[in-house]
Symmetry: C2
Amino acid sequence: MSTTIIVPESRNIVKGKTVVLGNPRAGGMKKGIAIMDFILRLGAIAASLGAAASMGTSDQTLPFFTQFFQFEASYDSFSAFQFFVITMALVAGYLVLSLPFSIVSIIRPHATGPRLFLIILDTVFLTLATASAASAAAIVYLAHNGNQDSNWLAICNQFGDFCAQTSGAVVSSLVAVVIFVLLIVMSALALKKT
Amino acid sequence: MSTTIIVPESRNIVKGKTVVLGNPRAGGMKKGIAIMDFILRLGAIAASLGAAASMGTSDQTLPFFTQFFQFEASYDSFSAFQFFVITMALVAGYLVLSLPFSIVSIIRPHATGPRLFLIILDTVFLTLATASAASAAAIVYLAHNGNQDSNWLAICNQFGDFCAQTSGAVVSSLVAVVIFVLLIVMSALALKKT
């Protein structure tokens, strides 16, 4: 009878149907990770939606104009900013759709399927969010500082509000990126102890 | 005695020391993943080193000059490109240092420690590599196309070689990013089946 005592986890598979019981302590840690995962996802939704909205509404028209030309800057002007708006909207949409899987992880802390699904898609959308945040940051930096060697002048002197709004959007997207990294690390930790 | 038969995996824990046996099929799959992991890491080292070297040697001086000014473009001119060189060198260095852990995963396919360590650091360096690749891509795009609204002119007409070299570096870094995503997905799959 001693063999039944040294079996570490009481996982019973009956004809392909997995009945997961687990020991209470590991289950509690997994449940805690799953709840944290859900809360962080809500935060990431707010950050990415805020970034998309802030960038999407950035539009400034200068109060002076010449006969042929009116000075206007909006996110449409820069392809990196267009990419940013589209990507952040996609990321927010993915995060909303991922909430049910996060809830499944809370209800069944030992199920590896939803976690694996989430970690793979999180990695893909982390890449997407990081790429859009970094390319927008590069343009925002140029708009603030300009570049001497290529004769690109800083435009933030004229388009101050536009610059402030796009900078805010970039910061918000970086928050989303940090949350994504945390989500992946937490999912990996939860997967390991199964 | 029927309880010992329905235990799914033959994992025996004797006083805290884990003796992992595993079934041979899953071990073979894990070993395959670990070998693939090692090969992909070699590819990523080549891609990131190539990107850093290509960007770091990009330097073009135009054959004409005025009395006060000589036209020169190098990666030093753009802070995004400087960031790119530093980050790609860091990523290549990390990948070289991660090779021993990958080898440990090949020798001991069931050990979760090295895999967990690699998946967490891979995520961090994926973010770093993606950020540098995307910001450099945004600048390369601007150099090729310019921007009408902010009056930034395309410089690739003058600095053709410089543009070609930096574009090549960006493409090489994107290869490294794709390999990183594959590495993380493979590590997650290998962690799951433990």
